[in-house]
């Protein structure tokens, strides 16, 4: 059993039953968090770095942006008994097109925003798979806490 987390959305799961999966991460980033003691897992699929680009949309759907979505992901996990010092963070996505100048660098900006937010909150990234030109799917297995990553056209591997 796995719960599908949509684009600009977030999912939280507890116990051994339900895993979380999110598809088609292009320049978007998937943030998977897991507390092995509380058995709480969360997965966020955000599209853009900063909510100031469209505050109205951020109010309607905070999961669209890194700066509004990431704090909510952690808060929601805390509600289920997770604690910050136990949470393991793994991230994937932030792909780019073949772009010399950086006009279309949303992937990189998404990653920078993530780094900034986690760094400010003293949270480390345990594993990451960022950039490149690939479309990714990531899956959080609640039984083991393992995160699996799949490039479109290839097989699944552990992150």
């Amino acid at each position: 059993m796995k719960k599908i987390v949509g684009i600009a959305d977030m999912g939280i799961s507890q116990g051994q039953g339900e895993g979380l999966i999110t598809y088609s991460l292009g320049s978007c980033i998937g943030v998977a968090i897991f507390d092995p003691v509380a058995q709480v897992g969360g997965l966020l699929h955000y599209m853009l770095p900063e909510s100031q680009i469209d505050p109205q949309k951020a109010q309607k759907n905070p999961y669209m942006f890194a700066d509004t979505g990431i704090p909510l992901l952690f808060k929601e996990a805390y509600r289920y008994g997770a604690t910050k010092n136990r949470i393991i963070v793994k991230v994937a996505g932030g792909a780019q097109i073949l772009d010399e100048s950086g006009f279309f660098n949303i992937g990189k900006r998404n990653y920078m925003a993530l780094r900034k937010i986690l760094w400010r909150n003293n949270v480390l990234i345990k594993a990451e798979d960022i950039g490149g030109q690939v479309s990714r799917t990531i899956r959080l297995d609640l039984e083991t806490g393992k995160v699996w990553i799949k490039y479109s056209g290839e097989g699944e591997k552990e992150l």
């Binding site: 600009a8 088609s24 309607k60 669209m64 100048s101 006009f103 949303i106 490149g132 479109s152």
Partner: protein
């Protein structure tokens, strides 16, 4: 017969693009159209008619008596939902299928196509171009060639991917190098066969290589950008991923900035539900 000829031959065997949909799109997008002209066009299409009535009689509209006249239903729901229903009916054809060569599951290419079409309207509005059914249609069918190229890409996938990785070229260039034809070229060939106007076939042909277009730059650039932003979001993305080139010239041409790209993405993110609703429409009408 060489491979390119075989591929083009198979494209010629595609069923025609329903003329009723092409006409309906033009009419619905024209603010001067009357309800009755639109109804006259769509009434002979059973799927569209059934879907319009189904939507109109859904709980959303809260009608006390069920509506059975198409004319009445169109008046009640209005042109915007009608446009979506008409488009939803196209999805029953090629764009809705799974395309394993590009690792696209059933519905994925349709998601990407609708996203591109919606983006084309957002960009048009931003650059004060106004709604344009030609642009919308071009954005919707720009990747139709992938459906035909599917088997060949699947057979040669490792060779293509290897070229992309080692030579750092785009997926499109690698397709051309390995197969002798790329999906943009093939899409344009199909659109030509469907008798789409030159502006559309051009925009489709150059949707990854806009700077090479000899004419109609405006529409070519629009489709290029719509597709590029749809790719960035990853919606309906496949094995070719984001292995395509970015051209700043297009952004300069429209006087757009980085911020605008982010705004378009946010706008699309807001409409994902709409995209999913359209995907659902392609499912057959149930007699419940």
């Amino acid at each position: 017969m060489n491979l390119v000829d075989t591929i083009i031959q198979s494209a010629h065997q595609l069923p025609p693009f329903p003329a009723v949909i092409q006409r309906a799109l033009a009419l619905i997008n024209d603010p001067k159209s009357s309800v009755s002209t639109v109804v006259e066009t769509i009434q002979y299409d059973q799927v569209i008619t059934a879907n319009v009535l189904r939507v109109c009689n859904s709980p959303y509209y809260g009608l006390r008596q069920s509506v059975s006249s198409l004319q009445e239903a169109v008046i009640i729901i209005g042109f915007d939902p009608l446009l979506e229903i008409v488009l939803g009916s196209v999805a029953g054809s090629a764009l809705g299928e799974a395309i394993p060569g590009y690792d696209l599951e059933s519905g994925d290419l349709w998601r990407h196509s609708i996203s591109s079409a919606l983006l084309s309207q957002m960009i048009s509005q931003r650059i004060n171009r106004g709604q344009d059914h030609m642009v919308f249609t071009a954005a919707l069918i720009h990747d139709i060639g992938k459906v035909m190229l599917n088997t060949y890409v699947k057979d040669q996938f490792l060779t293509i991917k290897d070229l992309v990785n080692t030579k750092k070229i785009s997926f499109l260039t690698a397709e051309k190098e390995v197969l002798g034809i790329d999906h943009a070229e093939l899409s344009a060939t199909i659109a030509e066969q469907w008798n789409f106007p030159r502006e559309i076939t051009q925009a489709i042909r150059y949707h990854h290589t806009p700077l090479l277009a000899p004419a109609d730059k405006e529409v070519v650039y629009l489709i290029y950008l719509s597709n590029l932003i749809a790719m960035l979001t990853g919606i309906g993305g496949g094995a070719d991923g984001l292995s395509y080139a970015g051209y700043d010239e297009v952004m300069y041409h429209f006087k757009l900035e980085e911020k605008d790209i982010e705004k378009f993405i946010a706008q699309l993110g807001d409409q994902i539900q709409k995209v999913e609703t359209l995907i659902q429409l392609q499912k057959p009408v149930e007699n419940s």
